[in-house]
Symmetry: C2
Subunit: 649 residues, 2 copies
């Protein structure tokens, strides 16, 4: 970079002609929909091997089953039995949360896990129903059909909604639209889960207090109001039993937190609660003392429900809404959880393949009397901790559940509702993540606001509105990132040829008569006005300093290293800025446009307008050129903008 010579050797900028449209389109489509390059492994393979690989790729069971052995099965058997003991109480509880017959919850732990074991991508994910989606289904579908007045129709609409969820998830997977799930940010999910946990806990107070009448609304205020309005129905027996169970469950959770090795204590605690509750209810005839029980559970595995799907236009809009929203929430939860556990073991989970697996699982589920399933956090964590090795643990769970349905169903009919309420409450308390929210608050205030919007929206308005507000904030933020991209002034770091933000590195030196600006992110219609105004402001500020020091600003260098793309409006903005600067005897040069930007600049003749000699590969080259080769402006005195304040200001 010989800075000593008068005309230093300049690095050559590439003005290669733009790539043709088909090439750039192909590359853009690939980055948008196939960022993980899924077909890379099939290249350079023989057709027969390619078919085998494709089969293994699309149906993962073909990948792991041939390598499966008894050693692995021992782990999966234990994990499978453990998650079954969680699946029975959770299945019954969440079905009640969705105002469904409890048996539907058990059905949902039989067929969907089998499907997932075939198509699923994750080794640790355990399939089951989830509280948030159960409540959402209930609150949406009960708007059009009351589960008390017409339970048969209500059930049919739930199946239909599950079917729609399945179709939607499969379609998203095939269209490789995993990108949609990306817009449910971590902060949104944290807030949404917390808010949902709060309202679900409050819903459970109905069971704990042994109430017969309750509200169908989900927000905090309505629920608390309903509890106090019906205080004549409060039963102390129910309260005592409920609080006892709740304390027991919380203690086991505490034990797991303190001694992670004892995770199985909290894993089997719900089953213990149910069994103890059953025995207690059976021997004390608890239902005569105000403690309600689940009631009759029909023996036998899932009946077909394919004929029950109901696409009546009267309900279709509601059913589709419920299906799409719960489908998206279920995907976000399932994929996020699958990924989190995979990362712990340095594995990858392909979101698009997961969507297809979830989709198949729900389509088949809706044909076999199951409602919405996904990968719930609690079950998956227990599965992982129990040492599962492959999706075989889901098969074990499915088989255990089938045996339960065939032979043990009636045993669970004495389960007291209050025990189920205690199980749900205990699970929900773990979903309110204070520390996470505090961490968000410390690191990023806007993320915190997004999280709180979801939390309070869900708790005080409705689940739907809370989610929408939070996603809305996330989108506004995403748009603000592009509408107000950061720019900064660069100075030369002493003893180097590099240039850095003068705010961040106050030691870096200003260059006499030269202003170096770094722009970030794409330049295009949504931010071009801002960028123009911001550049002109930088120049005004710089001129104020220059004037004070008696020097004159002669050159403005725009470092485009961080500009990933530009559109027509953006190019026009740069042309306008240049025109304004020229009118004030300031020369503008651009530095290091990236390949896509350079292509647009060539195609739009921008390079011809500003001249190739004003495009540099590095800032150092440009500053050298400013000192030596680029002609100075005519020295006609008042070329400062301060004198004629209307021109730039």
């Amino acid at each position: 970079m010989g800075s000593a010579s008068i005309e230093p050797q300049r690095l050559v900028v590439s003005f290669a002609p733009p790539r043709d449209f088909v090439t750039t389109l192909k590359s853009d489509l690939k980055e948008t929909f196939f960022p993980d390059d899924p077909f890379q492994q099939f290249r350079n393979e023989k057709p027969s091997r390619r078919l085998k690989k494709a089969l293994q790729y699309f149906i993962p069971i073909f990948e792991w089953l041939p390598k499966y052995n008894f050693h692995l099965f021992r782990y999966d058997l234990l994990a499978g039995i453990t998650i079954t003991s969680l699946a029975i109480p959770q299945g019954i509880s969440y079905a009640r949360l969705a105002s469904l017959p409890p048996i539907i919850g058990l059905y949902s732990s039989f067929v969907p896990p089998l499907i997932y074991a075939v198509f699923g991508n994750s080794k640790h994910l355990a399939v089951g129903t989830v509280a948030a989606c159960s409540l959402f289904l209930q609150s949406t579908i009960s708007d059009v059909v009351s589960p008390n007045d017409d339970p048969a129709l209500y059930l049919r609409l739930i199946f239909t909604s599950t079917f729609i969820t399945g179709i939607f998830q499969t379609a998203l997977g095939f269209l490789r639209l995993g990108i949609l799930v990306d817009f449910l940010s971590h902060s949104t999910i944290t807030g949404f889960m917390g808010g949902t946990a709060i309202i679900i806990c409050l819903q459970q107070l109905k069971g704990i207090f042994g109430l017969l009448h309750f509200t169908t609304k989900t927000d905090v205020i309505s629920v608390i109001h309903a509890i106090f309005k019906n205080r004549k129905e409060w039963r102390w027996e129910s309260i005592v039993v409920g609080v006892t169970f709740l304390c027991f469950l919380q203690v086991t959770t505490y034990v797991r937190k303190k001694k992670p090795k004892l995770f199985w204590v909290s894993a089997i605690a719900p089953m213990v609660t149910v069994v103890v509750g059953c025995l207690f209810a059976y021997f004390t005839h608890a239902d005569d003392h105000g403690i309600q029980i689940v009631g009759h559970l029909k023996k036998g595995i899932n009946p077909s429900s394919i004929g029950l799907l109901n696409f009546d236009s009267k309900y279709l809009a509601t059913v589709i809404k419920a299906g799409l929203v719960t489908g998206l929430i279920a995907l976000a939860e399932g994929i996020a959880i699958g990924r989190s556990f995979a990362i712990m073991q340095n594995e990858q989970v392909d979101g698009n393949k997961e969507m297809i697996a979830f989709g198949f699982m729900n389509i088949v589920g809706s044909f076999t009397s199951c409602y919405l399933t996904t990968g719930p956090f609690s079950k998956t964590a227990v599965n992982f901790n129990s040492g599962c090795k492959t999706a075989m643990s889901n098969i074990v769970m499915a088989v255990s559940m089938a045996l339960t349905l065939l032979f043990l169903a009636s045993l669970f009919s004495h389960t007291p509702l209050v025990a189920l309420s205690a199980i749900i409450m205990s699970a929900m308390l773990g979903l309110i993540k204070y520390e996470e929210a505090y961490h968000l608050y410390k690191v990023d205030k806007f993320d915190f606001i997004i999280c709180m919007a979801a939390f309070f929206g869900v708790a005080f308005i409705s689940m739907e509105v809370g989610l929408m507000i939070s996603v809305g904030f996330s989108l506004i933020r995403a748009l603000l990132y592009v509408a107000r991209p950061a720019s900064c002034k660069l100075g030369k770091v002493p003893n180097s040829t590099i240039y850095r933000d003068t705010e961040q590195y106050p030691d870096s030196a200003d260059l006499k008569g030269i202003l170096v600006l770094q722009l970030g992110s794409p330049i295009y219609f949504a931010n071009s006005t801002y960028i123009r105004e911001r550049i002109l402001r930088w120049i005004r500020e710089e001129q104020a300093v220059s004037n004070f020091e008696g020097s004159i600003l002669e050159h403005v260098l725009l470092d485009l290293t961080g500009v990933t793309s530009i559109d027509i409006t953006g190019i026009e903005t740069l042309i306008e800025v240049r025109r304004t600067l020229l009118a004030n005897d300031i020369k503008m040069a651009i530095i290091n446009p990236r390949i896509k930007v350079m292509e647009k600049m060539i195609a739009s003749k921008f390079i011809d307008i500003i001249g190739k000699e004003y495009v540099f590969l590095s800032i150092d080259d440009a500053t050298e050129a400013c000192r030596f080769s680029l002609q100075r402006p005519k020295p006609n005195g008042n070329c400062s903008l301060e004198d004629s304040s209307t021109t730039v200001v």
Copy 2:
């Protein structure tokens, strides 16, 4: 940068503690809402001068009127009279387009220009009604009230909608939400204007063919169908007169294009058309021969309409919709036009102040029997070409219009409708910009799609749907920019210390065992999954090459120069990537995090996790460190990912 020494001197990275929350919030809010730093001029001023400056800032007439003189007035007088000659025919025509009494169009050129002259920021903008908004108002309001069945109520709703537009525009200005207008991109506006021009031209065929019955729909197919369905009503007299006028107007436009000095020919052509049309109709009793005329025009200036505003909840939703959409379109047109002409003279127009001026103009307008006004392109261009110097030309127009209303109104009652149709058609033909669309097609295919979506949406579905589709595409594009940010692999440019994209600069050399990646744009929830997958893909590709060459990939350097901000999800992604790499014996270092990114990294303990020694100020520093100071991974053979394909792939 002594690369010869074994342990080269390293540039110091700034790990300054994060700025406090209030400082960053203030700076963020300023960049979002006050990017032009409007209060900069008030600093360091005495209170009395500050008040004066503030008054001049908020009410621009105080700025220019004291300096006004007769010399300037001569220019403004000429320009004002010229635009009045355009305002009369346009006012009548566009009022008819909005299904309003023609006199309302004349009223709208009296009060609003006066208000704009006081508060307006642009020197060249001429106030008036516009075709697109007139048609939009008509098509929206006529959905709830037919202008033929209940013209009084229809008129009241139009005034109400204008009032809402005014309130909306004022609010946007005070809230400094000029950012909203930025999302109506140039491509959207080009397409929308073109589509609107097509449907307005077709609407005028009613006048040209002299039809009595017509459709209320605006799409191309309905209109053409209506014309042919009513072909028995076609009047040859009307067609001959219309085509004659249209040819005359097109010839004058052609003259202006060829000889820009003769712009006044096309400026007064509409007035000539109207006058000739009046005389022709008067002397030939044209209305007896199937050529309809405007009919009685009431003498006198604007009556008050403040009592006519109607906020009946039955119509409110429609009225608000009409008000907001036309308000936004009017702003986009008015501000864009004001800015374009200001740029020609190196002046700035403050979008937020313009919004307030437009808002006041429409609020007062709605109280004085005017409907929606803004700065139409045709009038403003004529004003500029006629040599206007200040907003005084608007005052001249207002006074001329008042005189016309008081003394000449009845003269215009003989204007044949067919003449007005010819005037509108001729104006609209100029708005279909083939070359612009072709330019978009050449430079940016996505911009072209956005433009075409607006064009065909407006022409074949409805104005609203066309606009929405186009804005939707623009937003998707804005979101894709953040969801799929470009990344590239850097190589060292020969004979330098700089690193550039190896695709763009194929000469730049790979570094043995080191992969340098440049990330662009913010890293956050919407793109973190993509970024992780993309980084891992770069590594896989690099490893394939390394393996072939027999070397081992040991270091991955992430250049964050282009990363303007990061959120929690983004930081977690980087941690995950690092964990995956470490498991494969690859070390990860980051280069030059910008100030906001560094603050987040410190606050979230990311820097503590990766270690300060893995953060570098320049790529060259980092590569030196990779060679010398950073410890090599343990040489235990198979650290390539290829051997254990599940780990990263």
